[in-house]
Amino acid sequence: MKEAQSHSEAKRFGMVIDLDKCTGCGACMVACMSENNVPFREDESDKLLSTAWMRVFKMTNGKPFPETDICYIPRPCMHCEGHHGHSPCVSVCPATATDYDNLTGIVSQIYTRCFGCRYCMAACPYHARVFNWWDPVWPEGMERSLNPDVSVRMRGVVEKCSFCFHRYQAAMEKAHYEGEKEIEEDAYQTACTQACPAGAISFGDLNNPEHKVHQLVKPDLRHGGRPKNPEAFRLLERLGTNPKVYYLSRREWVRRAGDNYLKNEKTGGGHA
């Protein structure tokens, strides 16, 4: 059920990533790891076991030399809304460890409730969730740089990108202190958005027409949040997950790679 606060409409925090500006440098990955106490191991080459909340993938247009082209695509958690807040992962969690919040659109993961059944990992079509197979080990001295605003996880729990909601908490705390009811666009930005050296990532309230993310993609709420901007697209749009991460690209092949299109299908078609 939706309950609007008396002073504001519900927000939908989302992200827009410009794939033409994205350099594939990986700064977003490390900003996220550093901000969110993400563990690291000696051998991280098996990416199925490697813990990363934000992961940068590399796509290629499949053409031979010299027509080859590549594109990097950063993939955080999509914070899917589905229909009325029924994200795939939220719908299947037996422990109520993950929840969809109607007032901000954030899909939260609370580690103390999770008992590691990994049903949510099976449900997520974006492979955005990772499981802690082992206890994280911080080499001697490195636990000093852990961020106290984010829980440190033990083995046996699933974790995923949180849209840095601890920063939302901090921004709200400051707003309460200053007697404000609302937070500004730049008061709550995720670590990856803040760090991106190319300025490819934007974050904000998709419902707020003054926010950059809204202006970049113009989400159509009557069609499941589909972007009106023809250069924008979402991954696996036609699954109906209603994700909150939008991508921009001037390149048709990149937009085409966002979903499993048949050869004759046009990009951007289909319903949510």
């Binding site: 990986g26 490390v30 080499p139 852990l146």
Partner: protein, 740 residues
Amino acid sequence: MKIGRRCFLSFVIGGAAGTALTPLPWKLTDDLSIWSQNWPWTPVPEKGERSYSDTVCTLCRGGCGISVRKVDRRAVKIEGVKGHPVNDGGVCILGLSGLQLLYGPNRIKTPLKRKGKRGQGRWEAISWEDALAEIAEKLKGIREENKAHTVGCILGKRYGVTAALFERWMKAYGSANLMVEPSVEDSLEMALEAMHGVKASVGFDMENANYILSFGSGFIEGWGSPVRAFKANSIWKDNGVKTIQVEPRLSNTAAKADQWVPVKAGTESALAMGMAHVIIKESLYNPAFVDNYTSGFHGWKQRVLKDYTPEKIAEITGLDASVIKKLAREFAGASHPLAICGRGQGDTPVALNEAMAVHALNALVGNINQPGGVWAVPKPSYSDWPEVELDEIAETGLQRERIDGAGSAKFPMAASLLNRFAAAVAADGEALQALFISGANPVYSLQGAKVFQAALDKIPLVVSFSSYMDETAMQADLILPNHVYLERYEDVPVTAGLTAPMIGLARPVVWPLYDTRHTGDVIISLAREIGGPVAAAFSWDSFEACLEETLDDKWEVLNEQGFWTDTGFEPPAWKDAFETASGKFEFGSEAMDLSPGYSALTAEGDRGTYPLVLIPYDSMRLANGYISDPPFVVKTVEETVLLGKSVLIEINPKTAKEFGLAEGKSAKLTTPQGEARVKVHLYEGIMPGVIALPRGLGHTAKDRFMAGKGVNFNELIGPVEDASSGLDVAWGIRANLAKA
């Protein structure tokens, strides 16, 4: 009464019934469930007061302003400083992981003295007093033998007060053998000096150009000041600026570019000359500049028209002649075209005539010192120190020729030729008795790494100032660890292609964690211990005092905002810009026999044994200098680059098929310099016949997250000396790749 089983059972049932009516089971369940969530082996970082400490990142040449978030006294996150002229809030992947360098277990915590043989990694802790006394003793002895010139220094950075202190110390001591790690900046500055007659940094006004022609420069791989380059790229995307990338491999920069022009490896400057030919022939050059402010154009023009026809260039580069012509016309037709060179991140110099060829292209279109063009940017000025008083020993020592030949008659413009150092020492075993290495890891990062190692073996005293146990520190006799950048004051002059003089101020964010000392302080102490005129040259009490005095009127603004820049800087107008003999821009220097051109610097090795060409590639995710990847950054390296402990070599699928190689399979890579086991990765984005390996892997020292993974490219390639500059300009080497 029969007391039996039933009584016992009823007792138990009574107990159970009673217990159910007490809070015990419910409380116990609740408490146990909480207990199960207490994970004592999982650290709980303590909350505390949040504060921000601003400083400058020194992990590369970029000079980004960073803000370190602290909780009480612990540093927990690095963020960018919004509004900073270099990075405006952005931070690169390496900068973000800096806390792992500060708090990591790879830190050297006290001065160390070698036990056992070099390279065994056995050390004993030694006090600062003992370490300095030992070194001073040896150095005094060398002076007494009147052999002051047998002391050498290798630094990572050329500029800054610490480097200046080293220079002063060496001068007062009596040795000119101060060498610096090379980079493409050396080539660019030499070209500028040859053509403008001016010693200055080379700046590129990337943000205001509207046509970018890059000869292999990896703006997206970390060239210049990386974050600034990324932001420039984003500006280009927003404004529809056309970008051309010329290189044999589809790097990230090439993928970002509007057009990728794949040329045969090493032939980038041939294309530059071919384009010059078309521009000259079709009179597309800027007459206002060329006719009035240049000299030597006619002589050069004849050579270009004769030797660099599009057909000839087409053959050399593998491009179509029509492509060359089209590029030339587009470049000259743009209102603000800009040509840039320096392969990959720009860690290796380019041949002087290549740098001059690209600079000549810029001159032809008249963008010298213009908006959107190449600028001569003066180095930031510092207040002068008093002259060093030299004694006889120092005078004698300073008169000897430098061990690397820089500044000699053969290489008059070179300030440092570290690539020639190893061969010189190897040839003359007595050449050096002591070597000091600070802020550099040449055992790992110099091309021809093995030759450097052999040279070190001939030097009786090697002292490292490294904060981390890297390959060079492993070969040292004494280690005097420096504070990590987050623990110290440092001035950070930024020359990496910026368009205004800029100095950043690195400030301590945390108190030094261990028993380390600022290298600047150590130099001052060492000078004092040596005594005599060496000590007399160092009147400052500490590095900090020296820094404040030297930065003079800039100190206040540096402390306020973390950087000083000449905001109103404009490059000199054409009539004032050139200080050559002719007073004009010179298209070549007859005096020094220099000319923009292309000389086929073929990769070492014969085609028969080595049918392929191996080139390195740079990646933002693989730091390859003094600083190597901390664990967070290693984590981001793709599984198509590093798999377990093996590095994957990129090869075109057509070539792979010819050689019988399949994806993921092991192969043996051989070059005239060395060999390695690698795995194969098929990549359509690389020219057939060319194979590529990333730089930054193959560490043998450092922590377990980095050591033993992959192969050190620098061990597979040897230095190739550029005849005119003396710099090592090897861009690749011939190789063979066979199924293993």
